[in-house]
Amino acid sequence: MTAKKVRVGFFDFTGCEGCQLAKVSMENELPQILEHIEIVNFREAMSEKSWDMDVAFIEGSITTPACVERINRIRQAAPILVTLGACSTIGGINAIRVGRDLDEIRQEVYGDKRYLFPSLPVMPVSAVVKVDASIYGCPPNPKDVARFLTQFLAGKIPQAPKYPVCIECKLQGNACLLVQGIPCMGVVTRAGCGAWCPSKGQFCYGCRGLIPDANLDALRISFEECGLSQQEIDNKLHLFSGRELEKLS
């Protein structure tokens, strides 16, 4: 199709930078993708009015007042705002900080200069501005990203599945790890990755965040049966979903 290319801006916040399109092992698809989208770069000094883009992809989570200000500016300029990766979508692995004393973390991260960097609790982008769609995962799964892009370019605001990884795990015919006493988070984790980890024999560590109404009480019982301590269970739950858990409580 020779329709006008979609102008896309990429914006980095606090994260591991593992999410950028080129790094999500999509080198092969990239040329085809670039037939439909044009990646535009903005100098942030410019006023947002001259940021001419159709979509903003946001990577990384919101951690400082400066981040808040910047994401607000991007939101104003972008008709559609998409979060890319666990950090911007669910607060991501950054959210390990949730529930820990902020000062303590600042000490760890910034040493004596910590008072120069006022930090907020780690937030997903959706805690600050309206998010139109999200690409989940840490890192996002290439197939899922391709699906997102095609649906998006076809005029659909793609929705991630609301069912758990187990559905995809069973489509692959895997025997369940959790049943075998291996603490797999797939039962409470949003699908869309094609059960990436369990299909390789590794438990799901929950990188796509919780499904709505995840039965966490049941998860605690099952993980106890796997021999995990309360502390270990908490750690597992907080690895990616600390922010979501906070919202629940």
Binding site: T150, Q151, A154, G155, K156, I157, Q159
Partner: protein, 275 residues
């Protein structure tokens, strides 16, 4: 030898002949298929597909005797319906169906008909209303009750004016919340029922609206002494196939896409998940 499978899922091309924006969220599509007419019963639905986006079940809103084309009225509710809204005259969408059991218009001959439509629920009722008006002498009274949330959501304004003009149609409507220039009734649709003077033994009610509406409408009809087997309802459920296979539309043991969407209330009053 290779055999083709799943021909039941293959859509035919329907050309958009005309569109009309009815409200901010609802758009009418007049469609033409190569071997038209569609051959539907009032109350049946089609699966509309936008290739690359998906499918959605949509009621056929026009009567079967209204020429070779048919009409859909689509509310913008998500991806497929939004993609449909972007299409204009000349564009093509996929259609398969019609599916399901519609209103038994043949069997209702001789009856007084009481149509009760809430919001977009008037859309499937309209095909039965068309049918009754196109075979007007076959039926007794035609009473239409219509309620919407507010005046902005009123569908079929021109047609409603025609219904109001006819002396063989009794039309009443209400809105949940009025607006400064709204002169008509304000209140939920059930408030239109008590004042009606019905010939109870010979009336059939045909009801379609949002899920919460049914319980209250049926209570109001019961207090008018209408029996359960004098009430038809049309139900909405998640649907994926329309063929009684994908399971999404089940209510207990029933499949809405095949056994419904139109049910006689007495047949489902004990079906726990129905209403």
């Amino acid at each position: 030898m290779v055999v083709s499978i799943h021909s039941g899922y293959v859509p035919q091309q329907a050309k958009i002949v005309r569109t009309e924006q009815m409200t901010a969220a609802e758009k009418l599509f007049e469609l033409q298929i190569p071997d038209g007419p569609l051959g539907h019963e009032p109350g049946q639905f089609v699966e509309v597909s936008i290739l690359g986006v998906g499918e959605a079940p949509i009621s056929v809103s026009s009567g079967p005797n209204r020429g070779p084309n048919f009409e859909l009225i689509v509310r913008k509710a998500g991806s497929v319906t939004e993609a449909m809204h972007q299409l204009g005259a000349g564009a093509v969408m996929g259609i398969r169906g019609p599916y399901g059991h519609g209103f038994p218009m043949e069997r209702l001959k001789g009856s007084d008909l009481l149509f009760i439509g809430g919001g977009i629920g008037l859309v499937p009722l309209r095909s039965a209303i068309h049918y009754a008006l196109d075979h007007r002498s076959d039926y007794g009274r035609v009473v239409i009750l219509y309620g919407t949330k507010n005046p902005n959501e009123i569908l079929f304004r021109r047609e409603i004016e025609e219904w109001k003009q006819r002396d063989d149609v009794e039309f009443f409507m209400t809105v949940d919340r009025g607006s400064p220039d709204w002169k008509g009734n304000v209140g939920v649709i059930t408030t239109l029922i008590p004042p009606l003077d019905l010939n109870i033994t010979n009336t059939t009610a045909i009801v379609c609206g949002p899920p919460i509406m049914y319980k209250f409408v049926i209570m109001a009809l019961r207090s008018k002494r209408l029996e359960h087997d004098q009430i038809y309802v049309s139900l909405e459920r998640h649907m994926k196939c329309g063929l009684g296979k994908c399971g999404h539309c089940q209510i207990n043991h029933l499949y809405v896409c095949q056994d419904g969407p139109v049910f006689l209330y007495s047949d489902i009053q004990d079906v726990k998940e129905a209403l």
